[in-house]
């Protein structure tokens, strides 16, 4: 947490959760658990969000919504799957309508287990997401300083000059 220089904004979307994780996410943002002390802020606008927090599994109808929310967020972005349904599909993974966890649709960085996930676990996930977001930002700054050197060092397989 020491290196964190920015305040990422957080977007919460309820996939097909039973509400248990949703209300725990909301409880995290209220003063008792107060996740906002880590510099994050809850927002309703995907275009201003840096961290996407998904609760619940993915079904046929909300898949497009989750995909669209993810695409609308500016880079770099971090995705946190909260609760066992968002991680794997949970108890509902055998039903006809659930495709699986959030990683069936968007790349997930951090998995928070639990049914329902406890506020302490959610805060842990959020802190990890804030750290990861800062890492992405550091990499981006390093890239901007000297693109050639950065790509040679971190992604030698990509021929940067060809614009790949």
């Amino acid at each position: 947490m020491a290196k964190v220089k920015r305040s990422p904004w957080l977007l919460h979307y309820d996939g097909s959760s039973c509400n248990g994780c949703d209300i725990e996410v909301l409880a995290c943002l209220t003063p008792v658990y107060d996740a906002e002390r880590f510099g994050i802020q809850n927002t309703g606008d995907p275009m201003q969000a840096d961290i996407l927090l998904i609760t619940g599994g993915i079904n046929a109808q909300n898949q497009a919504v989750v995909k669209q929310l993810y695409d609308q967020m500016p880079r770099p972005k971090v995705v946190v799957a909260v609760g066992v349904c968002a991680c794997t599909g949970g108890v509902f993974k055998d039903t006809y309508n659930i495709l699986g966890g959030a990683d069936t649709t968007v790349p997930v960085d951090i998995y928070v287990p639990g049914c329902a996930a406890r506020p302490q676990a959610i805060i842990d996930g959020i802190v990890k997401a804030v750290d990861l977001f800062q890492q992405h930002m550091d990499n981006h700054e390093e890239f901007l300083k000297n693109p050639d050197e950065y790509m040679k060092k971190n992604h030698p397989e990509v021929d940067f000059k060809k614009g790949e």
Partner: protein, 359 residues
């Protein structure tokens, strides 16, 4: 007369904790028609009866909804107990009542907070949720879980209350009672809150009856509908009168739910003072054969459970009708003619629980 246009509302929206989509046909700022479309949270929970046996279904049923999880489990248990002719011991019935009322308290406090957030009163939202945590603490102490606490089983309950726990419950409800008195003054008598709620989204008694509304939404319109009057569990021994308001607007719904928290506190105290001694559960043998309907009063209204067994471990059919499903036609009716800016408030006013509705 202005030009008509269609504004999509949801599924992702800042005030909505859960996804619901509405197509709003508007004329200037006035709503002419609202067309709801749901299905974003549909999991196909009822189909799991093929894969899980009737005891394992308990775990699934409690995950219909994370807010009124206990009451879903309880209704399912009572339906299966009805089929199997199992009589729950009195102490088990009283414990179910106590946990039901604690669930109702935390659900209504949650709703009051969301409503305050809906009309832009953020500090009030935080106050309600802070108060709700003291209810959750006592739930965690007595059951081990914060929002989904599996303490029901077919034939009774899994955990007993000892004297320390009973003392903790009484202390917690007294604390909520004192602090809610202060919050109540803001909700019911504050000028700016009144101006957002009074006369907004009026649903008359006749309309509420015709559209089949349930729970606090119907009681706010003057219908005396409360499944607890049916006298299931310990409610037959407890003294209470449903809280009804005649106005049918947002203020009436807020009034009903605020006063119901006080009513729940009273019911918990009555149940604890009459708490009988004895067993908390009975052993259940055999498989369910037959069918049963059970109606219970959840925080959002009447929930109906239908269970049909065929003498094997696996049920033939399980069906849930949840209160929000009954309240959606009423919501569409209240939206007609409302101002566009009031839409989030009106949706919150029915206390929608989409995950219950879509299962």
């Amino acid at each position: 007369m202005g030009k008509r246009s269609v504004v999509p509302f949801g599924p992702q929206h800042p005030v909505l904790p859960e996804p619901i989509h509405l197509d709003l046909v508007i004329e200037d700022e006035k709503i002419i028609e609202a067309i709801p479309s749901i299905g974003f949270v549909h999991r196909g929970l009822e189909s799991l009866v093929d894969k899980k046996n009737y005891k394992e279904m308990m775990y699934i049923v409690e995950r219909t909804c994370g807010i009124c999880s206990f009451m879903h489990g309880m209704a399912y248990c009572e339906a299966v107990e009805d089929v199997m002719d199992v009589e729950v011991p009195d102490r088990g019935k009283y414990l179910r009542t106590i946990w039901s009322e604690l669930s109702r308290m935390h659900s209504h406090l949650l709703w009051l907070g969301l409503l305050a957030d809906g009309f832009g009163f953020e500090s009030l939202f935080y106050q309600c949720w802070r108060l709700r945590e003291s209810v959750l603490d006592v739930l965690e102490l007595t059951t081990g879980g914060r929002c989904i606490f599996s303490v029901n089983k077919i034939g009774g309950v899994l955990k007993d209350l000892d004297d320390d726990m009973i003392k903790a419950i009484l202390e917690a409800v007294s604390k909520v009672e004192v602090e809610l008195e202060a919050i109540k003054k803001t909700f019911l008598f504050d000028y700016s809150v009144e101006s957002r709620l009074k006369g907004v989204g009026v649903l008359t008694k006749q309309q509420a009856h015709d559209l089949g509304c349930a729970g606090p939404f119907a009681r706010g319109s003057g219908l005396k509908l409360d499944m607890r009057l049916r006298g299931y569990d310990a409610y037959k021994d407890l003294d209470f009168e449903p809280i009804v308001s005649e106005d049918g607007d947002g203020y009436a719904r807020c009034y009903v739910r605020t006063m119901e928290i006080f009513q729940s506190i009273d019911l918990i105290r009555q149940a604890i003072s009459k708490l009988p001694k004895g067993d908390i559960a009975v052993d259940v043998k055999g498989n369910p054969n037959g069918e049963a309907f059970v109606r219970v009063e959840q925080p959002r209204g009447e929930a109906v459970y239908y269970v049909k067994g065929n003498g094997t471990l696996f049920l033939d059919r399980m069906r849930v009708r949840t209160p929000t499903f009954a309240n959606l036609p009423g919501l569409v009716e209240t939206l007609k003619g409302a101002q566009f800016a009031d839409v989030p408030l009106l949706i919150l006013a029915i206390d929608p629980c989409i995950s219950c509705t879509e299962r």
